[in-house]
């Protein structure tokens, strides 16, 4: 057994997953996406990770929590490792992500409002299906869309 100081501090995928409060499958997925890589392998061929891997995984999870995609997180990790980068670079990306999220919220709100109007129009639950204003409105919207496409 290699039990020098370095090897003793290495973590198997299971231990790293427990430390980072995630699953080994998630870590294998991150590895396939190029976000993490094992530091070395044991004599039995098992992946081994150092303490930096746990920090990196926490970073990935927090960034996902803030809405960043895996590709964006990849770029953030690269930025984090770039000597010439500064806090302003990270801040700019955070602001741009916020703009994207606000834009999606606005689009979702418009969808919700449109559904709200359809629901308000259909206030008679006992209408037969062919008299349902929601169906009529959706079909009419579909017709409008297909006419517009021609």
């Amino acid at each position: 057994m290699l039990l020098n100081g370095r090897k003793q501090s290495m973590l198997t995928i299971g231990k790293l997953a427990a430390l980072a409060q995630t699953t080994p499958d998630a870590l294998r997925f991150y590895e396939r996406e190029g976000l993490i890589a094992p530091t070395s392998k044991s004599e039995g061929g098992y992946r081994l990770y150092d303490a930096e891997a746990a920090r990196r995984i926490r970073f990935i999870k927090q960034a996902q929590h803030c809405g960043f995609t895996l590709a964006e997180i990849h770029a953030l990790l690269d930025l984090r490792a770039t000597d010439a980068a500064c806090c302003g670079d990270m801040r700019k990306r955070a602001i741009e992500k916020k703009l994207q999220l606000e834009s999606r919220i606005k689009a979702l709100k418009a969808m919700s409002d449109a559904l709200g109007r359809l629901i308000a129009d259909c206030n008679q639950e006992r209408y037969p299906l062919d008299a349902c204003p929601i169906l009529a409105a959706l079909e009419s919207a579909e017709l409008t869309a297909s006419n517009g496409a021609r």
């Binding site: 703009l99 994207q100 606000e102 834009s103």
Partner: protein, 86 residues
């Protein structure tokens, strides 16, 4: 003509480009209303215009440049708008 330039505060790269653009636009089109918007203070307006990256520039309420143009590109885009206004 109204120009809204959305920027992220603290971006030193944007500062120089903003100054150059403003000078070029005002020199060629003195009637331009130049407005620089800190995106954090004008988030709703930025979202309304579809700003997704910074810096970005809108002219008369249209996001003409999702990324900052060169002074030449900006003046070329403003030329027909200025003619329409005359």
């Amino acid at each position: 003509m109204q120009i809204e330039l959305f920027y992220s505060p603290g971006c030193t790269q944007c500062d120089g480009a903003r100054t150059q653009l403003k000078a070029a636009a005002l020199q060629r089109f003195p009637q331009v209303q130049w407005c620089e918007c800190n995106v954090l203070e004008a988030l709703d307006r930025a979202v309304e215009l579809g700003v997704l990256s910074l810096p970005a520039l809108a002219v008369n309420g249209d996001l003409l440049f999702p990324k900052l143009p060169t002074p030449q590109q900006l003046c070329a885009a403003l030329e027909p708008l200025a003619r329409d206004e005359c």
